[in-house]
């Protein structure tokens, strides 16, 4: 059976696109071949920076002739039906149809269709151009004179040659002939751009690979990776070093070379004063080189790096290593400049005093200066949400308040033997540190290092904070307040970090909710889902109690106040009113009647402000945001394996202590696992169903239960039990002991069961019936304290 070899050779394809493009080529071509009626034994794709190659083995030489019969209507069928059949079968007239007979159905038309098979070559010659024209590159381009006209060929970079041969192993393969925008397929390719640029004539895959290898091209990308990795490890080892492995970098580098040659370069020891992450990122991002460590060192880097060249240079790579060393040195001197500049004084410190005062900053310290500058420059956080400075003020207020809440939760002082005074001091420290960490949390955004490597935000702040002598918890919080970044990221546990991380995330959420920029579908540009999950994970995994709504309300008011202030300070077209700005501001802020102003002007202004700065309905925003938290909590709990019906049963639109929700779900789950739980659930559901049915029928239900109307013993004992259970469960909930609450309710099981066994709710006496229904309502009320049983499955 014949084999197909296809190579699309172009100018350099971006490394990150090669693997996928080769895979797409294989899938598109093999799918197309199969659809055209061919089969194949195996297909494998290859890629280099300059080629996508496909090797298809055992392809059938022709698609089979196809004979099929299409059954039509009876020969006596109306004309319309016959026409429909002819159209479907592609026949010109009834004369082309055959007539078959069936003993039951009688005579009917049948179309005999036969499609002759096609040569694989013809199929390929049709498919490949179509695939090239419709290739799913992430970005593609036009080029050359042809691009003057619309509809010219697009490829990731200019496409140069197409090699396409087809034939069995035993025979000379043929070129599958086709042409796309002036590029004609052939059996010719070229080797390495510099070491073997000449034409190579190819027959099939086997000689293609061998000839390419001889022409300094390693066709297989994974093999190039293996070569680079093995050579890099060996080279490091031979120099007493360990390679710092980096799969992403390895993949990229393997897509930059056709003939990998691993070399070692070096830079001055002095650059190792820069933090290792900064050195690694500098060398990786700019130079695509690997860094190394002294053997056995888990932390520090060495001053040697490993590069992958694309040629065997005449001098063994000396010039290349030397040249790369120079570039690395230049980049590291930039990094060193950033690192040192960030630790030095800013110019114009006197301009920063006002900002320093606002945040209690010490302008002798570099990071404090950076925060002052962030505020002073009015760097915008978001056009509708004001500046980073305003944001930090809000985060600080909230973080301090959260710190106070945390310090009342004894777990954070566990393991410390503290006298009352000491505890007091610790609590004070916690508040102070949360405030300080908040104030410094965003300072590194104006550092040079973070400007260069945004992914180091937080990490750099922490380093600079430690260097200027901040408390370790404060420094850690600067980094950790961005955490957790997703479902698997580490959750901060230090109370200072918890306070700042919560404040930061809640501020973000409230802010974007206030301006109605919520996530929709797959769009979540501000990563608000991640922020909400962060809040949830921090609260739950640390066992922190909170009143989310209270925290949100405060922030919302701060946001609204800031919005009004911004408006008053910048946006007033005073000319509208022929008033001075200060008069206007007073007029707006003055309580009605205090400020003497023409009534009409005043009303005019008020209407204007109302229009420009609508104060959104607080409760609506909060309600919506809390519902969002509930949704994210459900997702989180489901991922943890919790039953979603239990979550629904426990959450009410008002539940804003997420930890409490989780505990209730846990208690409810274990209760329902018991026999009492199951039966009580059944009884309660029955009560609820009856009630629901009667409520629907608008049957009278008494407001309160009247013991005088009891006729049966079972009623009396149920009433007593409900009173008892409701009281006990209520008390238990007050103490947040959900297991005890469940236990209290479980006592109801027996009286509920015997009530339903012995008592007919639907008594003829309307008063008795109304009273019995009221009793059922009491069961529902008692259980509702813990969960909405009607939402529980089973």
């Amino acid at each position: 059976m014949p084999d197909l070899l296809l190579e699309l050779r172009s100018e350099e394809i971006p490394a990150r696109m090669q693997r996928k493009a080769a895979g797409d080529l294989r899938k598109m071509l093999t799918d197309g071949l199969v659809e055209a009626g061919l089969t194949y034994d195996a297909a494998r794709e290859y890629w280099t920076p300059r080629r996508l190659t496909l090797d298809i083995r055992g392809l059938t030489a022709r698609s089979k002739d196809i004979h099929e019969e299409i059954k039509g209507p009876s020969t006596t069928a109306p004309e319309q039906a016959v026409h429909g059949f002819l159209r479907k079968a592609g026949l010109a007239s009834v004369a082309e149809a055959h007539i078959h007979s069936d003993p039951k159905k009688g005579d009917f038309y049948v179309a005999h269709i036969s499609k002759p098979g096609r040569a694989a070559e013809a199929i390929i010659a049709e498919l490949v151009p179509a695939i090239i024209r419709g290739f799913p590159w992430p970005t593609s381009m036009r080029w050359g004179p042809a691009s003057a006209k619309p509809g010219s060929l697009r490829w990731v970079r200019p496409l140069q040659t197409i090699l396409c041969t087809f034939g069995p192993e035993t025979e000379e393969p043929v070129v599958v002939d086709f042409e796309i925008d002036g590029i004609r397929s052939g059996n010719v390719t070229h080797g390495h751009r510099f070491m073997a640029p000449d034409e190579i004539t190819v027959r099939r895959f086997d000689d293609y690979v061998t000839k390419l290898e001889a022409a300094k091209v390693v066709l297989d990308g994974d093999r190039r990776k293996e070569i680079i990795l093995a050579d890099a490890r060996n080279l490091a080892f031979a120099n007493g070093l360990d390679l710092v492995e980096d799969e992403g970098l390895l993949e990229e580098v393997s897509g930059l070379v056709e003939w990998p040659v691993v070399l070692m370069g070096e830079f001055e020891q002095a650059f190792l004063a820069i933090p290792p992450e900064v050195v690694r990122l500098t060398i990786r991002a700019n130079q695509k080189c690997f860094v190394t460590r002294p053997q056995g060192d888990g932390e520090n880097l060495s001053n040697r790096f490993i590069l992958t060249a694309n040629i065997e240079a005449k001098d063994g790579g000396k010039e290349i290593a030397h040249g790369n060393g120079k570039v690395v040195r230049a980049r590291l001197s930039d990094a060193l400049y950033f690192w040192r500049t960030d630790q030095g004084d800013l110019p114009d410190l006197e301009q920063l005093e006002e900002s320093a005062k606002k945040f209690g900053l010490d302008l002798k310290k570099p990071l404090d200066q950076r925060m002052a500058r962030l505020d002073h420059l009015n760097v915008t956080f978001h056009a509708k949400l004001g500046t980073q400075g305003e944001r930090v003020e809000r985060i600080k207020r909230l973080a301090e308040e959260i710190a106070d809440t945390l310090s009342k939760q004894p777990k954070f002082f566990d393991g410390k033997l503290l006298s009352a005074d000491d505890l007091n001091t610790e609590q004070k420290y916690l508040r102070e540190r949360a405030g300080r960490a908040s104030v410094l949390a965003k300072a590194d955004l104006t550092t040079e290092a973070v400007g260069e490597f945004p992914e180091l935000q937080g990490a750099m702040g922490r380093k600079y904070a430690l260097l200027q002598g901040e408390h370790p918890s404060v420094a850690a919080a600067i980094e950790e307040h961005y955490k957790p970044q997703g479902p698997s990221d580490r959750v901060p546990t230090d109370p200072v970090s918890i306070a700042v991380a919560l404040a930061d995330k809640i501020d973000t959420l409230v802010g974007f909710w206030a301006i109605d920029e919520k996530p929709t579908g797959s769009k979540d540009p501000y990563a608000l889902r991640r922020a909400a999950l962060g809040v949830i994970r921090i609260l739950i995994e640390n066992g922190v109690r909170s009143r989310l709504v209270e925290l949100c309300v405060q922030l919302l008011r701060l946001h609204n106040a800031a919005k009004l202030a911004r408006f008053l300070s910048t946006k007033i077209p005073i000319s509208l009113f022929d008033l001075s700005r200060s008069t206007f501001a007073q007029a707006v802020n003055a309580p009605a009647g205090r400020y003497v102003l023409d009534v009409q002007v005043r009303e005019h202004i008020e209407r204007y402000v109302q229009r420009q700065v609508p104060q959104e309905d607080e409760s609506e925003i909060l309600h919506d945001l809390l519902a969002f938290f509930h949704d994210r909590l459900k997702v989180y709990l489901r991922d943890q394996g919790a039953r979603h019906d239990l979550i629904d049963a426990v959450i009410t639109p008002q539940s804003d202590d997420l930890l409490q929700i989780v505990r209730r779900v846990e208690a409810l789950g274990s209760f329902l696992d018991t026999e009492d739980g199951k039966n009580l659930l059944a009884g309660t559901k029955r009560a609820a169903n009856i009630l629901a049915a009667e409520e629907k029928k608008k049957t009278a239900i008494a407001e309160t239960v009247e013991p005088a109307l009891f006729r049966e013993e079972a009623e009396k004992s149920l009433f007593a039990a409900v009173n008892q259970a409701e009281k006990q469960a209520g008390e238990a909930i007050q103490n947040e002991d959900f297991s005890a609450a469940m236990l209290a309710l479980s006592v109801l099981r027996e009286p509920v069961d015997s009530f339903f066994e012995r008592v007919l709710v639907n008594d003829e006496d309307q008063a008795v019936r109304a009273n019995r229904l009221a009793l059922l309502a009491r069961i529902r009320a008692a259980t509702d304290q813990v969960a909405d049983f009607s939402r529980i499955a089973g």
Binding site: E12, R16, R142, G144, S147, P150, L307, S333
Partner: protein, 314 residues
């Protein structure tokens, strides 16, 4: 320079020799050799010989040196590689010839970079200039890990599709010179190729200016004035475009004042860069400033298509 040129003109000895070698190479190919544009620009692309001439159907091959100003890159003369003022060598070929990569490699050989000794690489770099409303696909060209050129197939300029596509080569002259001269510090580059008393270094020519401009760019540029200049340039650009716009009764809709209007767009762009270096532009404002410059560039590009050079049928 060719091998018979004097030693002091050889690119490995002389910064100006490097420039002249490139001039000769591209002149021999048939490019018009232009002089730098006489305004402050951030890159050679801003030269109207690239921005505007990349538009429209007419062929265009040009090469020139363009002093480029990046106020933010000032380092007070203390960094051996970074400058707020440096030279770009710019080549624009429209439509791009099919062997543009080979032509480029040929120019490297001409200045003494042997691709069998040095590791030359084409590394993905999708180029976009948000201020010019331009983008293209291409590469950074690396020589032993150093980016020495940008290679771009323009797809869109001034928000207008390029038809045909132009190929743009931009050589970072200082870097390239440092490479071929084997010098680690830009200020040590031999400018004139002479030795001893006759030698003039890059530092002698530019170090003082780097120090002074860094002070200016980061500390002293008058931001209030610059903000005003930005507004002025923007208004003037629009006014000139309006004044030169074709009249409704013209037989051919010809625009009569594109180049002067485009100058104001360049000016606004540079003022914005200065303001940015002074750190007075916040992240969100940045976007809106860039958008404002882009709107000017787009308007200029559209007007250019209504001129003879832009392909208006005569």
């Amino acid at each position: 320079m060719t091998s018979d040129s004097p030693a002091h003109m050889h690119p490995s000895r002389s910064f100006q020799g490097l420039i002249l070698t490139l001039h000769n190479y591209w002149a021999a190919y048939g490019c018009v050799i232009l002089q730098p544009y006489d305004m402050e620009v951030g890159a050679g692309t801003f030269h109207p010989a690239t921005t505007l001439r990349a538009l429209g159907p007419r062929g265009w091959n040009a090469a020139y040196v363009q002093p480029s100003r990046r106020p933010k890159d000032g380092r007070y003369g203390e960094n051996p590689n970074r400058l707020q003022h440096y030279y770009q060598y710019q080549v624009i070929l429209k439509p791009n010839p099919p062997n543009l990569q080979e032509l480029y490699l040929g120019s490297l050989k001409a200045i003494g970079v042997d691709p069998l000794l040095h590791d030359i690489r084409f590394v993905e770099d999708d180029w976009a200039s948000p201020t010019l409303g331009a983008w293209g696909l291409g590469w950074e060209c690396w020589c032993d890990g150093m980016e020495v050129s940008q290679f771009t197939y323009f797809q869109q300029v001034c928000g207008i599709e390029c038809a045909p596509v132009a190929g743009e080569l931009t050589y970072g002259l200082e870097r390239l010179a440092m490479y071929v001269q084997g010098v680690d510090n830009v200020y040590d580059l031999n400018f004139n190729g002479r030795e001893g008393d006759e030698k003039v270094t890059y530092g002698e020519v530019f170090l003082q200016a780097e120090q002074e401009y860094s002070r200016h760019n980061f500390e002293h540029a008058n931001t209030v004035m610059l903000l005003r200049h930005f507004e002025d340039a923007e208004a003037e650009c629009k006014a000139l475009l309006a004044a030169g716009a074709p009249a409704s009764n013209d037989n051919l809709p010809m625009h009569r004042m594109v180049f002067p209007a485009y100058d104001q767009c360049i000016k606004a762009s540079h003022v914005f860069n200065l303001l940015d270096a002074r750190g007075v532009i916040s992240v969100t404002e940045r976007q809106s400033y860039i958008l404002r410059v882009r709107n000017l560039a787009k308007a200029c590009g559209e007007a250019f298509l209504m001129t003879q050079a832009g392909g208006l049928a005569a």
